[in-house]
Assembly symmetry: C2
Homo-oligomer: 247 residues x 2
């Protein structure tokens, strides 16, 4: 595929629990699918611990390099939720109590008859100048500062926040994707497939082997910006498979 001039994205998943194996991340795959759908190229993902230096370094590395950065995790009200402070530090901004977030949280807890104490107020903290990302699940908002979108780690909330963020992003052309099932192992097709890839530079051809009771099979995935480009490569691949001995 020729060099991408579409917007790019990176994700930073934050949390000790992801690195200890206690929690299996579900947000990376969800973001990946969402970005692909709207034509934004997810280029890199990092997972780091609840560690300010690690978060600051990753946020600054990624926000310089990609159009959009999305973070998950660490925006609750406990001592291990340090994402707001860390992102503020990455931007060199004070971490303040956002007025609108305070108003929303105060109203939320008042309706439920729950004390809006200091820990809960912590969830209104974010870098000065940030704008809010609505949280229809549990009120405590995410926030956007610069090109960095800070969202919750709980998957249902991450997904709801992302739904609110997506309309604000400048998407690119979505990728067209075609799948050709190949009843041979990779080793039978790799040389010819490499030639087909070279002949179709506007496509990206992925080859994904599987091992099953029926033996080796391979799924071939052709991605391109334009339907015609993907179809031309898929046609060459189908012709290759029909010409295989034993096909």
């Amino acid at each position: 595929m020729s060099e991408d001039d579409n917007p790019t994205a990176a994700m930073l998943a934050i949390g000790d629990e992801l690195l200890s194996g206690r929690t299996k991340d579900k947000n990376i795959g969800h973001l990946a699918e969402a970005m692909t759908l709207i034509g934004i190229g997810l280029k890199e993902v990092r997972i780091v611990a609840d560690d300010e230096a690690a978060i600051v370094e990753a946020v600054n590395a990624l926000r310089e390099r990609y159009t959009y950065v999305f973070t998950s995790g660490g925006i609750g009200g406990t001592h291990d939720d340090i994402t707001a402070d860390s992102v503020s530090a990455a931007f060199g901004l004070p971490c303040i109590y956002n007025d609108e977030a305070m108003r929303r949280l105060a109203a939320h807890y008042e309706r439920r008859g729950i004390d809006f104490n200091g820990s809960r107020q912590r969830m209104a903290r974010m870098p000065e100048g940030a704008s809010l990302i609505d949280n229809p699940v549990s009120t405590a908002p995410g926030f956007v500062i610069g090109n960095v979108h800070v969202m919750a780690g709980v998957p249902s909330i991450f997904e709801a926040m992302l739904d609110n963020v997506i309309p604000t992003l400048k998407g690119g052309a979505p990728l067209v994707s075609k799948i050709v099932e190949c009843p041979f192992g990779e080793g039978d097709i790799a040389a010819r497939l490499g030639e087909i890839q070279k002949a179709h530079p506007k496509t990206s051809i992925g080859s994904y082997p599987r091992f099953s009771a029926e033996g080796f099979r391979t799924q071939l995935v052709i991605r391109a910006r334009a339907e015609a480009d993907a179809e031309a490569a898929a046609a060459d691949i189908r012709a290759m498979l029909e010409a295989m001995p034993g096909a």
Copy 2:
């Protein structure tokens, strides 16, 4: 938890399919659990595309910083499998056909009556001086160069390779982990929990909120090197919960 003097690890998952959402990674969570079990601290994970520059940069960043690096993906025989070349480039080493890997693969394909063609021979390529990681599933080996362990992306093969790697690693003291289920939301306990964390610096206390039909609940996870440290913190947490209004 006081500064970790145990070995550290990072993972680099390689593959366009992980970033497009086509494939949901399963290897990160598996590695995380395995490292926790043997007392090696997984500190960072990155996911990058099948892109040599991106792989080289990530390998070099991670191998300088952590005791062990583990990669997944991109070691098959097709044009999009560029991990061996990229890791060789990261180390400034030629990427050669490893004799022992060639011997194993040749024997494997001979037994199965399959042509050991150029594409299949590609799977024997690795940096000069690398040692092999056995692959009991499909023969094509992974490899170790320096502190970097290069393994397959297919989860069953990644797991089998990791089983072969683990006895070669110098593990640390495994973490003891205690779970206390908390029938309150994070906001009710955060302030006191932060004090307990400060009083138990040899532990790391994680707080993981859940939303369910019964309302807000929180799982508290205490990790420490020593059983006594974890238990002391857990006891303080239980006492806190018993003293809560409504408990």
